[in-house]
């Protein structure tokens, strides 16, 4: 089983390496001599229009090639290591065994010429800076191993071109594979500006045939054909002309030449076409099968530029005639005519095919696996529009945008809008930009220029109820509270920037919504009160957090840099949070000097609700543990302190954020508790400062001694009445929590004026 080898060039006269003229060749000759896997056979030379080259002919033995490799690379292969005396030409490695397989990562060579290995990924001027003959030899071994193990590239891509890159590229529309065979559609081409040297991008669009622009206008005919399906995995050389292309595809079982001529006849039928000098773009769409009989795995598209018109091809193929400057169908009238082969020599120039930008492609490029939810994005201001921009460009989610605002000049500092959009609804603007992003692929984004809390609008309410997820970027506390009150809404996640712009927060309901945004919000405040990061978290607030945190306020000073920074972080974090069914509280703090971003997360406790007199007390398991623990520590004495929280009078809810322990001057014994005042005013004022005045004094709590329930004693009732009267001065009821041996009870006092 002796192998047969190609012979290139002629033997170099005289001794090697003495007579070798190309430096790299001579260095390589030495490197081969001391390399265990290579054996030098001889040195040859050749001259062509590109100059003089020397060829070191070697046998290479690569132990890392497994014998049963699918491409059929042999353990022992012969190569010509070619070196040109032109410094800008990369060294070439030609496989000389005549049966050397066509594999991925080979350079384009003419049919019948020895294969040329494509060894390097980077351009030669970059490689040359670190190239040594020794590394070159190792690279050949690497190429052989990777190729034998089929780890280089996909197995069905065409061989690559070493000295040639197609000047034209074609972006196929996303629905090309689906509609190419549908006669109602034609591929329309849009030529983008010539970038010089004939380099140009052509963008395709599937258009209804009736709307198609005439070929003369574009100066190009375009013909796209669906061929028979073939089994994938073969690699082809580039054909030089229509004849070679036809032979290659015939051999694969996907002949096209008859279809081509039939299509040409059909286009000419009934039309008197003047002789013209327009060009042709031929696109062949080949369904690929994994194996015989399987479903179509994918489509292979190849495009070629032909320097003559379709009609001229028809003429060469003998299906048209030319008469007085016009093309006519040839009617053979039953007379046998020898088929002409003139079409075979029509030259082909390959056109690179580029994938259109589709959501799948976007996700692949962004490294995102999930296609994301069908969701509502409430609020597309500075933060919301940027988050949406990131998601849309990464193909994540299908979104309905809800926002009642319009673009004002100051928004341009932080919003994705442009000047031309001033005065337009933000929701419409963001959708419009999304349509511009997706082009012919199309955008699935909807826009509702209304308030997300406009539950009278069926449009709004339908969008919210039918979504799988609602992301709240309204930067108000209005929407999340309303959202929480709706039982048939999907899971909600709120994000917002802190007033200084240096921090941001993410609050998420759990997937089953047993914990809702309002309950998460109050636990977030407890974090602000008790965690070190809470000290400065809401700094910069003007005593009102939510609306001031938004950019609606003209005096808000937050740079677009910070919006982009937090938007980038939050868009990813929302994605992660949406994939995790648990409720979440996460905050991030940016250090504007060093650029460091720190993060904290809080455990979200199950929410507890207690209804008294039409008012819902909302608290949570974490807080219950806290008061029970305080009671335990004080036993056998009673203890107590102040309740912290806030009312939502719209929802008739009172949220208990935290309890304070007994001030130091309090007095408690087994029969009662008298809450002191030491430091209390300062503490409450700090509570208000940290929470932008949201959280404040609500009432009192105290514990009962061992063996007692949480029922109010007569003394407790007196205290409650006192509190009720005092707090009525603020128009609010008073609350009292009693912690007994086994239970906790909420008591409530309000003054009735009538």
């Amino acid at each position: 089983m002796t192998a047969e080898f190609f012979v290139i060039g002629e033997p170099l006269e005289g001794e090697s390496p003495t007579n070798m003229k190309v430096d790299a060749a001579r260095q390589t000759w030495f490197a081969v001599r001391s390399h265990r896997s290579f054996t030098s056979i001889e040195v040859r030379k050749y001259e062509d229009i590109d100059g003089y080259s020397e060829l070191v002919i070697v046998d290479c033995e690569c132990d890392r090639i497994p014998p049963n490799n699918a491409p059929r690379i042999e353990y022992r292969e012969r190569f010509a290591l070619c070196f040109s005396n032109k410094v800008n030409r990369p060294p070439e490695v030609r496989a000389l065994r005549t049966g050397f397989p066509l594999t991925p990562h080979q350079n384009h060579v003419l049919n019948g010429a020895p294969s040329s290995l494509c060894l390097y990924f980077e351009p030669w001027p970059v490689i040359a800076r670190t190239w040594t003959p020794q590394k070159h030899l190792e690279r050949i071994l690497w190429w052989l191993e990777q190729t034998a193990l089929e780890q280089l590239h996909r197995s069905d891509q065409p061989v690559e071109q070493l000295y040639f890159s197609a000047p034209k590229e074609l972006v196929l529309p996303h629905d090309f594979d689906e509609k190419v065979n549908n006669k109602e559609f034609r591929l329309a081409l849009e030529f983008r500006p010539d970038r010089g040297n004939n380099r140009q991008t052509i963008v395709g669009l599937m258009q209804r045939s009736v709307d198609a622009v005439s070929d003369q206008v574009l100066n190009t005919s375009c013909i796209a054909l669906r061929l028979n399906s073939v089994i994938q995995g073969r690699i082809e050389h580039f054909p030089r002309n229509l004849g070679e292309l036809s032979d290659t595809l015939d051999a694969r079982g996907a002949p096209f030449i008859k279809e081509l001529f039939a299509e040409i006849r059909q286009r000419v039928e009934g039309n008197l076409l003047k002789v013209n000098n327009i060009k042709t773009i031929l696109i062949l769409n080949v369904p690929l099968l994994k194996e015989a009989g399987s479903d179509i795995a994918r489509f292979d598209n190849k495009a070629y530029f032909l320097p003559i018109s379709l009609e001229e091809i028809g003429l060469k193929g003998g299906v048209l005639d030319k008469y007085e400057n016009q093309y006519l169908l040839r009617h053979n009238l039953g007379i046998q005519v020898e088929p002409t082969d003139a079409w075979r020599s029509v030259e082909l120039e390959p056109i690179d095919i580029l994938q259109p930008f589709t959501p799948e492609y976007a996700r692949q490029t962004s490294g995102i696996l999930s296609s994301g939810p069908k969701g509502v994005l409430a609020g597309v201001g500075a933060l919301g529009s940027e988050i949406f921009n990131l998601w849309s460009r990464s193909g994540w989610g299908e979104w309905t945008l809800i926002d009642p605002d319009h673009v004002k000049p100051h928004n341009l500092a932080r919003h994705t809008a442009f000047d031309q959009f001033v005065g337009h609804n933000k929701a419409d603007v963001v959708r419009y930009l999304d349509e511009a992003l997706w082009g012919s692929t199309g955008s699935k984004t909807r826009a509702i220029p209304k308030s997300a809390t406009d539950f009278d609008s069926t449009e709004v309410i339908d969008a919210l109820k039918n979504a799988a997820l609602v992301i709240d970027v309204t930067t108000t506390l209005d929407y999340p509270r309303e959202h929480a009150s709706q039982d048939d809404f999907p899971r909600g996640i709120s994000v917002f920037l802190t007033p200084s712009g240096n921090g941001c927060a993410l609050l998420a309901e759990n997937a089953c919504r047993s914990v809702r945004l309002d309950g998460v919000e109050s636990q977030y405040y407890r974090g602000i009160l008790n965690q070190a990061w809470g000290e400065a978290h809401l700094d910069g607030n003007k005593s009102y957090l939510w609306t001031g945190g938004g950019c609606r306020d003209l005096s808000t000073v937050i740079s677009g840099e910070l919006v982009a920074l937090h938007a980038g972080n939050l868009s990813r974090q929302i994605r992660h949070a949406s994939e995790n069914p648990a409720a979440a509280i996460k905050v991030w703090h940016y250090d504007p000097e060093s650029g460091a971003v720190a993060t904290d997360a809080l455990f979200v406790h199950p929410v507890l609700k207690y209804n008294i007199n039409g008012l819902s007390v909302v608290w949570d398991d974490g807080l219950r543990s806290k008061v029970r623990e305080l009671r335990l520590q004080a036993l056998p004495s009673e203890t107590g302190g102040v309740l912290l929280g806030y009312f939502d009078l719209t929802q008739k809810n009172v949220y208990i954020v935290d309890v304070l322990p007994a001030p130091s001057d309090s007095q408690g014994d087994t029969s009662g508790f008298s809450r002191g005042i030491e430091g209390l005013a300062n503490t409450i004022s700090e509570v208000q400062r940290r929470t932008a005045n949201i959280v404040g004094y609500l009432g009192e709590w105290h514990s009962h001694p061992p063996g007692s329930t949480a029922a109010a004693s007569s003394a407790d009732v007196l205290q409650l009445a006192h509190l009720g009267i005092e707090l009525h001065r603020d128009g609010l009821p008073a609350l009292m929590l009693i912690v007994g041996e086994q239970d906790e009870r909420w008591h409530f006092a309000a003054v009735k004026e009538d």
Partner: protein
């Protein structure tokens, strides 16, 4: 992927099969004290194997096979492995042997002088202990002498029949279905003659180890020490049973550190002319096959042709000639790769793509940082 690894332990044998499912089989053990010195070409086999097991989070081998009890196949084993025979050989980080594989002769007293070392006696005691316990051992062949010894020592042969495996059958515990591998035992075999069955005392374990991954077969013919006479008998017996495929090999480790005596009785000047039966075995090599010699380097120099002790350059020449004839790849020597001053273990990989050698020459910076450069002044 399965792996077969041959270790550079001088003129001695240590090799390991690591199956894709994590099981490890060690064949022979040859520790040399000088290997503990970094500057010496011989590997510190204790350290090397311990590191490998540590990386695999194991403290045992599934199988340790001693192909026979010569010093160059067992040296140092009693300090490395946990032995069942006495508490002083247990613990202290000793490596456990789940199953010990030995030829029957190891259990008998009829060992040659060379075998009568202190370590050989420990090996014999260990094998006897495990046989008496009725577990943790597989004995290859069952000669009458061993049965007699068992009877004298009140060990029921009937109860322990399952511990014995005869030549011409597959070793217990591994199947193509479960492990992608089976061990066909060629030796030790019984020679049938008029006086009854005779066991060759000096016969070592010889397996044809067959891997089959997704239907692709790779055969490894593994020979401990053997003589041309014994190998010829294996060939003729295998032919007699019409099991020619059991002689095939994609990987062959040559007997006795490349001694000419495994090919013929005559060394020859330039090459050893193998006996006819041996030729058949060599021609059973497959395309892309490898041969491995577990031995000291075998350079093609004038004085090597006069060497009395193995390895023999004449034998190497013969192996290489037959390897070329069958379209094989290379003849590798454990103490030569990638160089004789600091050889590395030879690693072969076996997969559905067949057998390939994973060795890669380490040169340049990579080589410099993996060893101490000469002392600077």
């Amino acid at each position: 992927m399965h792996k077969v690894v041959f270790y550079p332990v001088g003129n001695g044998d240590t090799s390991q099969i690591i199956l894709d499912n994590g099981k490890r089989l060690l064949f022979d053990f040859h520790h040399q004290v000088q290997g503990e010195d970094d500057g010496h070409p011989v590997i510190d086999i204790k350290k090397r194997l311990r590191d490998e097991l540590d990386n695999a989070k194991r403290d045992y081998f599934d199988v340790v096979a001693f192909t026979h009890a010569d010093k160059d196949h067992i040296a140092g084993f009693s300090e490395f492995f946990e032995l069942e025979q006495a508490d002083k050989y247990k613990g202290n980080g000793r490596i456990k042997i789940r199953e010990l594989w030995v030829p029957a002769a190891v259990l008998l007293e009829q060992a040659s002088n060379d075998q009568q070392s202190a370590e050989y006696i420990l090996l014999r005691q260990e094998a006897r202990k495990r046989l008496r316990d009725g577990k943790g051992i597989q004995v290859f062949s069952k000669p009458e002498a061993l049965k007699d010894w068992m009877e004298q020592n009140d060990i029921s042969f009937e109860d322990r029949k399952g511990l014995f495996t005869d030549a011409g059958t597959l070793a217990r515990g591994f199947t193509l279905e479960a492990d992608n591998v089976e061990f066909f035992c060629h030796s030790p075999f019984m020679k049938h003659c008029d006086e009854g069955d005779i066991l060759r005392n000096d016969a070592s374990l010889i397996f044809q180890i067959r891997f089959e991954v997704n239907g692709y077969r790779t055969d490894y013919f593994s020979v401990g020490d053997s003589t041309s006479e014994a190998l010829e008998e294996i060939v003729s017996t295998t032919k007699f049973h019409k099991r020619l495929d059991r002689l095939q090999w994609n990987l062959l480790n040559v007997p006795h550190h490349c001694s000419y005596l495994a090919l013929s009785d005559e060394k020859g000047d330039k090459e050893t002319e193998p006996k006819d039966g041996i030729k058949e075995l060599l021609r059973a090599g497959q395309k892309d096959a490898y041969i491995v010699s577990l031995s000291n380097p075998i350079p093609d120099t004038a004085d090597m042709y006069k060497a009395i002790q193995p390895p023999h350059i004449q034998a190497r020449k013969t192996y290489e000639r037959y390897l070329r004839e069958v379209g094989g790849r290379k003849f590798y020597v454990t103490m030569e790769e990638p160089n004789a001053s600091k050889p590395h273990p030879l690693e072969f990989e076996i997969s559905e793509r067949g057998l390939r050698f994973l060795g890669r020459t380490i040169t340049g910076a990579a080589a410099v940082i993996s060893s101490t450069p000469p002392r600077a002044g």
